[in-house]
């Protein structure tokens, strides 16, 4: 039981717990908050895996921007809990069954068939951030320049789309 293993297990438990909490909580706000916690946990994972930049962008973009946006909308729409009318009675059991099967199948597949052997980075190698960052930046602007630029256009389009969708024909009404 090395320390990173213990750390991993604890963090894994937290991640799973928060995910389940998001799933099962009746209040939408609680669900969102649970998800934020989940994202933060995953960011810690990224750090452990030697991807500090990704960890930071996870926290900044995901937990900071996206979840805030979610909370805005929840606030806008009202965090009401929906009544328990069921029009699809078979949905829940079937979904749970199939999901479990999927989990087992995919685990099995990835672990036995498509598995890269090896361990992840040792913790000390993961800490060396400045080297990683420089290399990441170099790669980003040389090999992956096109996707980088396209992503910027994508963000522009998303922005335009969001504004357009919420804009009324009869004029701008807030």
């Amino acid at each position: 039981m090395t320390p990173d293993l213990i750390l991993f297990l604890v963090l894994a438990l937290v991640a799973i717990a928060t995910a389940l909490g998001m799933l099962f909580s009746r209040n939408s706000v609680y669900s969102a908050l649970f998800l934020v916690l989940n994202f933060v946990t995953v960011a810690v994972f990224y750090l452990l895996l030697g991807a500090p930049f990704i960890a930071m962008s996870q926290i900044t973009v995901y937990a900071g921007a996206i979840m805030v946006l979610f909370l805005f909308v929840i606030m806008l729409l009202g965090a009401e809990s929906l009544p328990k009318s069921e029009v699809l009675p078979w949905q829940k059991p079937l979904a749970i069954g199939l999901a479990v099967i999927l989990a087992v199948e995919s685990t099995y597949l990835l672990v036995t068939k498509a598995r890269p052997t090896g361990d992840v980075l040792a913790p000390d190698a993961a800490v060396n951030t400045m080297e990683n960052l420089r290399e990441l930046g170099m790669k980003l602007f040389s090999d992956y320049l096109l996707p980088f630029e396209v992503t910027s256009i994508l963000l522009l389009v998303a922005m335009v789309g969001a504004i357009l969708l919420t804009k009324k024909e009869k004029g701008v009404q807030k």
């Binding site: 029009v87 699809l88 079937l94 979904a95 199939l98 999927l102 597949l109 068939k113």
Partner: protein, 722 residues
């Protein structure tokens, strides 16, 4: 067929004209006859027959200058298939020329007679237009008979045989829609059918004989057959001769197929004279004579033929005693005389048989034609009486009537041929009377008329060869004289029993002159074959031979006064005179009065009734043969053919099965319940399928995403398993 020598000396090339002249005559009458008067039609027909007679004379002359040698004349090749060669060849020898002369000679005389007879007959029956038809048929008969006697093979003989059978049918049924008393009836046509059908039974026998002959001998031609008689198994020859006897029994009216001849008297009298006395019925005798080599080879068959002939002679003679119709007496007499002839030729006495054939043709034709004259006279008398005095003569004396005679004002049914209506015609019809007497005496066999010589020769030959037959024939000769005497006393002597007899008139000359010719022949005909001289015998010897069997001849038969045996002649003459005397005792001394019952009936009672009823032979045939046959054919037609085959097999089984198959099996089950149901099920199933598949599209996103998950799970599972 292969020796068609036309001899350079002689007229054998004229042979086909025997047939052609009558055919031309009938064609002229058919095509152009509707414009001619009766006289012209009759003259054309008589000339045609007369021309055939002239040709016969020339052909006989040919034979005589060739010293009896036979000549041939091939007219046409008929069937040539492989080795089978059947031709139409004329055979000119002494036997065939004899027959030709008799047929055409007597035939021509009868044609002339028929001009006068039919002139009156069609007027009595109210159909003058039918005159022409009679002469067409008569000429057709002459042509067919010529084919029969002049043929060189059994095949041509059979062609003529069938032809005369047809003409007999046509002429018997000449007044086909009425009976002899001119009332609408089936009687005449039934008589014609009876003749044809009975003849057919005989023809059947002839055909079987022909088949066996062809099978054994390989040919129909006379010389070929006769040459091979001894090479062929005897059983075949016996079979042939006996089957031919069946044919002879049919055509020449022997037992058991004689029953058509009395009914054939339904035809006009010239027909009875020509066909049923002189010519057609003698075809059987000719056949046996022609087949002499065959018969001579089998003695047993000869005995059978002779016995059949003798039995017929006696049997028919007894029936003739009880008949009341003038023509029926003569008909049974004909059957009886044919029995004489058949007995004679059956035993091998061919010359005697042919001699009797010739003389019988003379006096029987004379008798029939005279009877026709009597009938016409009675008809004339009846008409005079009916138109003359209505009141007195409607009632009063009538002869003993049969059922069809009943009293009405003007439509009294009168049978001119019934002897019980006659009587005393000697005074009113003298010429006919004397002619009839000559015929009677000839038939009875009284010296020196023709019948004496011919009958005597038969009796002599049978006495020598076959005594049983002789005694039968002798008794038959006794009866012959008896019934002829009875007839003469009843018809010509005594008082008139009916006013028709009282007013009867003599016939015109066109009728009586041919009769006189025939009477002359009946008187002088004996000269043809006087004993010792044997003119006819020598003539015929070229063709046939009298076969002398080795029999023990009694001494008294050996006596010969120049060929004539006095004992036989004496016995037959005494018997005939005795018979005439007996008949005078019964009928002549106390002549019958009107309404009186026949005296023999009183004495013989039931036996006489049987004789009247012809021994009930027709009734026996009806019961044994005809009725069962009719029932059998009804059974076959109605039950087996209609009910079984049609109703059951066809309708129920075949049609029913088919209908069941198509309607029920195929239509209802296979088609409607099977294929239709399947096709409909397809539609219903796709509706059900689509209705159920539609439920997948419920509009809920979550269920769609569940489907996606399901697909993912399956794909991943597949990847795992791969």
């Amino acid at each position: 067929m292969f020796l068609s020598e036309a001899t350079t000396s002689g007229f054998s090339y004229l042979a086909p004209w025997l047939v052609f002249f009558p055919v031309i005559g009938l064609l002229i009458n058919i095509i152009l006859g509707n414009r001619f008067s009766e006289r012209v039609i009759g003259t054309i027909a008589s000339l045609a027959s007369g021309a055939a007679f002239v040709v016969s004379v020339l052909l006989a002359y040919t034979v005589s200058i060739n010293h009896g040698e036979v000549s041939f004349h091939e007219l046409a090749k008929w069937i040539h298939i492989g080795s089978l060669k059947l031709d139409w060849t004329f055979r000119i020898d002494s036997l065939s020329t004899t027959m030709m002369l008799v047929v055409s000679g007597v035939g021509t005389l009868i044609h002339i007679y028929a001009i006068g007879y039919m002139h009156e007959d069609v007027r009595f029956k109210n159909d003058p237009g039918r005159f022409r038809r009679f002469f067409v048929f008569l000429n057709l008969f002459i042509a067919a008979m010529m084919i029969l006697v002049s043929g060189d093979s059994y095949l041509m003989l059979f062609v003529g045989w069938e032809g005369v059978g047809l003409c007999s049918f046509l002429l018997i049924g000449f007044w086909y829609e009425m009976d002899t008393l001119a009332r609408p009836s089936w009687a005449n046509s039934n008589a014609a059918k009876k003749a044809f059908i009975t003849n057919r039974v005989g023809d059947f026998g002839f055909l079987i004989a022909g088949f066996i002959m062809f099978w054994q001998f390989g040919s129909f031609q006379f010389d070929e057959v006769f040459g091979k008689v001894h090479e062929v198994p005897e059983s075949a020859v016996i079979a042939i001769t006996l089957f031919m006897l069946v044919g002879v029994a049919g055509k020449s009216a022997q037992i058991p197929l004689y029953v058509w001849l009395p009914d054939a008297m339904a035809g006009p009298t010239p027909v009875s004279a020509l066909i049923h006395a002189a010519t057609m019925v003698t075809a059987g005798v000719y056949l046996v004579t022609r087949s002499a080599p065959l018969y001579s080879a089998v003695h047993n068959a000869q005995e059978i033929v002779a016995l059949v002939g003798a039995a017929t002679a006696l049997f028919a003679a007894t029936i003739a005693v009880g008949q009341y119709d003038i023509k029926k007496v003569l008909a049974y007499s004909t059957i009886s005389q044919l029995g004489f002839m058949v007995a004679a030729v059956g035993m091998g006495a061919y010359v005697a048989g042919m001699f009797h054939l010739i003389t019988h043709a003379f006096f029987k034709a004379l008798l029939f034609l005279s009877a026709g004259s009597v009938i016409l006279g009675m008809e004339r008398g009846h008409h005079h009486a009916a138109h003359g005095h209505h009141d007195d003569h409607g009632k009063g004396k009538k002869g003993k009537k049969k059922e069809e005679h009943h009293e009405e004002e003007h439509h009294e049914v009168f049978d001119p041929g019934d002897m019980r209506n006659m009587g005393g015609l000697r005074k009113t019809m003298p010429v006919t009377f004397w002619l009839y007497m000559i015929g009677t005496l000839a038939l009875a066999g009284i010296f020196p008329f023709a019948g004496f010589w011919s009958k005597d020769e038969i009796l002599l030959d049978t006495a020598k060869l076959y005594p049983v037959v002789y005694w039968l024939l002798a008794i038959a000769a006794f009866f012959t004289a008896f019934y002829m005497g009875r007839q003469v006393w009843m018809v010509f002597f005594g008082e008139h029993r009916h006013e028709a007899a009282a007013h009867a008139e003599e016939s015109p000359r066109v009728i009586t002159i041919p009769l006189m010719v025939l009477a002359g022949l009946s008187v002088l005909g004996g000269a043809l074959n006087l004993p010792g001289v044997h003119t006819l015998g020598h003539w015929l010897e070229h063709t046939v031979e009298l076969v002398e069997h080795e029999v023990h001849i009694a001494e008294w038969l050996e006596v010969s006064w120049g060929g004539l045996n006095p004992y036989v002649a004496l016995i037959s003459t005494v018997a005939a005179l005795l018979a005439i005397l007996v008949s005078w005792f019964i009928y002549g001394r106390n002549p019958l009065k009107a309404g009186q019952i026949d005296p023999l009936k009183r004495s013989l009672g039931g036996l006489f009734t049987l004789l009247e009823d012809k021994w009930r032979v027709d009734e026996i045939y009806q019961a044994i043969i005809i009725t069962p046959f009719a029932r059998l054919s009804e059974l076959l037609a109605d039950v087996i053919d209609w009910k079984f085959w049609h109703d059951f097999v066809h309708e129920r089984i075949i049609a029913g099965t088919y209908n069941w198959l198509s309607n029920i099996a195929l239509d209802r089950y296979a088609d409607q319940k099977g294929i239709d149901a399947f096709a409909n099920w397809l539609g219903t199933a796709s509706q059900w399928l689509s209705a159920n598949l539609r439920k997948v599209q419920n509009g809920f996103v979550r269920s769609y995403s569940l489907s996606v998950l399901l697909g993912v799970v399956l794909i991943v599972g597949y990847l795992i398993l791969k």
